[in-house]
């Protein structure tokens, strides 16, 4: 049942990056922080790539097994499935707003609005998973199911071919301004 811990852990990582973007946008709007566009791009990339490549495939596998064990939560699972499918489109909207902001700093408000929309969507999505679906899985899956899920998750964790999200997260922490990170430094300079 280590899978539940991994999913919750991944939610924390995504939530931490959402928190960081929100904080930076507030400080930029207040004139307290100069925007680091490369850092924003890296954070949005993390939200997209980590969710799509690492996180959602695990959830999809768990949810598929859950469906075979109980009819409970069917509505929530259908919602989550649709949201996973719509994820790329939603993040693309955020990426477009960031690209506009990168080209023209006067579009900060539009970028902030696009971010708010995405953060609200993703927060609601994670809450639905944590409140309705993961507790259900905890009770409904059999030991054999958990062994299968844990094995799938373990394989996904050791996939060496994918992006090094741990290293990326380290760089985000290193470059994010205080107090959310270790202190502002240009993201591009750390390459």
């Amino acid at each position: 049942m280590n899978a539940l811990r991994i999913l919750s852990d991944e939610h924390q990582s995504l939530a931490a990056v959402l928190h960081a973007i929100r904080f930076m946008l507030k400080d930029i709007a207040a004139g307290k922080l100069e925007p680091d566009r490369a850092l924003f791009q890296a954070m949005v990339h993390y939200l997209e790539a980590y969710a799509e490549q690492r996180h959602h495939p695990k959830e999809d596998r768990l949810f598929a097994i859950l469906k075979t064990r109980t009819a409970q939560g069917a509505e929530a699972l259908a919602t989550l499935s649709a949201e996973h499918a719509a994820g790329p489109e939603r993040i693309a909207a955020l990426r477009r707003a960031l690209a506009d902001f990168t080209a023209d700093p006067r579009t900060l408000d539009a970028f902030a609005a696009a971010f708010d929309q995405y953060a609200t969507f993703y927060r609601t999505h994670m809450m639905l998973e944590e409140e309705a679906v993961l507790p259900l899985a905890h009770h409904a899956l059999t030991p054999a199911d958990w062994a299968e899920v844990d094995a799938f998750f373990a394989e996904a964790e050791t996939d060496k071919g994918g992006e090094d999200f741990s290293a990326l997260f380290d760089r985000l922490v290193e470059c994010a301004p205080e107090p959310i990170g270790l202190g502002a430094r240009p993201y591009a300079a750390t390459r």
């Binding site: 049942m1 280590n2 539940l4 811990r5 919750s8 852990d9 924390q12 990582s13 939530a15 931490a16 990056v17 959402l18 928190h19 960081a20 929100r22 904080f23 953060a119 927060r123 994670m126 809450m127 944590e130 409140e131 507790p135 905890h138 741990s166 997260f169 380290d170 985000l172 922490v173 290193e174 994010a176 205080e178 107090p179 959310i180 990170g181 270790l182 202190g183």
Partner: protein, 250 residues
């Protein structure tokens, strides 16, 4: 070594005058594991760690690596491989990062060990940021960097059991994630961890086993994964909806 536990605490009690702050707390830390103590503010978590470390007078029995420490004393606990990262970090702000680290290795130096430079390199490998700023005064560091230095200083004593008191306190989610990643890495390197945290969600995710302390006594204990799904814990300490909302909207 007589058991698989690096630390065993039996019936630990601490009183402030007539008020008993910790009452007959028993817990154990299996070698190579992460054990967490969670609970509300004022539950006695910090007092428990302080008493184990010998910073507060206590009654009960503390066994480190199979040997009973009748009256725990700080210096002896450090020699026995136990070290504490205090809640307030307690760094020397006017001293450089490097000097703060060297102070952490002082006890080993007194014992005749001369591996402080090698250990410091290990600390720098774990916290590259500290290497970059090694000649900088500790007082100029950010909150996250100070926490890293506090952990690094404790590691200079080459502990087999590291006790961390509220390592996430006052830190933003991004840095909290980083600190917990480092805690997991320390465990991979063979350091056993006793972690006191108010951030129950993060602590239960990181830990193998958990104790819930309330009003100075252990109320519940069990595998961290089980407690994370225990309705009593969810209601009292995780409060999923409100906490999640709060965490994401902060």
């Amino acid at each position: 070594m007589t058991t698989g536990n690096i630390l065993e605490v039996k019936d630990l009690s601490v009183a402030y005058g007539k008020v008993e702050a910790v009452s007959k707390v028993s817990l154990s830390v299996p070698r190579g594991s992460i054990v967490t103590v969670i609970g509300p503010n004022g539950a006695g978590k910090t007092t428990t760690l302080s008493a184990i470390m010998g910073l507060r007078p206590s009654s009960g029995r503390v066994t480190v690596d199979g040997t009973v420490e009748t009256v725990p004393e700080v210096e002896r606990m450090v020699v026995r491989g136990v070290n504490l990262v205090p809640e307030k970090r307690e760094l020397f702000g006017s001293m450089t990062i490097e000097d703060n680290l060297l102070l952490g290795g002082f006890q080993r130096h007194r014992q005749g060990h001369r591996d402080q430079r090698d250990t410091m390199e290990e600390v720098y490998a774990l916290f590259p940021r500290l290497r970059e700023r090694r000649q900088q005064a500790a007082g100029t560091l950010s909150g996250g960097e100070r926490q890293m230095l506090a952990v690094g200083r404790a590691l200079m004593a080459k502990p087999t059991l590291l006790m961390l008191d509220e390592p996430s306190l006052g830190l933003a989610p991004l840095i909290v994630r980083e600190i917990f990643r480092i805690i997991a890495e320390l465990r991979r390197r063979g350091v056993s961890i006793l972690l006191v945290e108010q951030n129950a969600r993060a602590a239960l995710q990181a830990a193998d086993y958990a104790y819930v302390l309330e009003n100075g006594a252990v109320k519940i204990h069990g595998a961290a994964q089980d407690l994370a799904n225990d309705p009593r814990i969810i209601e009292s300490y995780l409060g999923l909806a409100s906490k999640h909302q709060e965490r994401l909207s902060a």
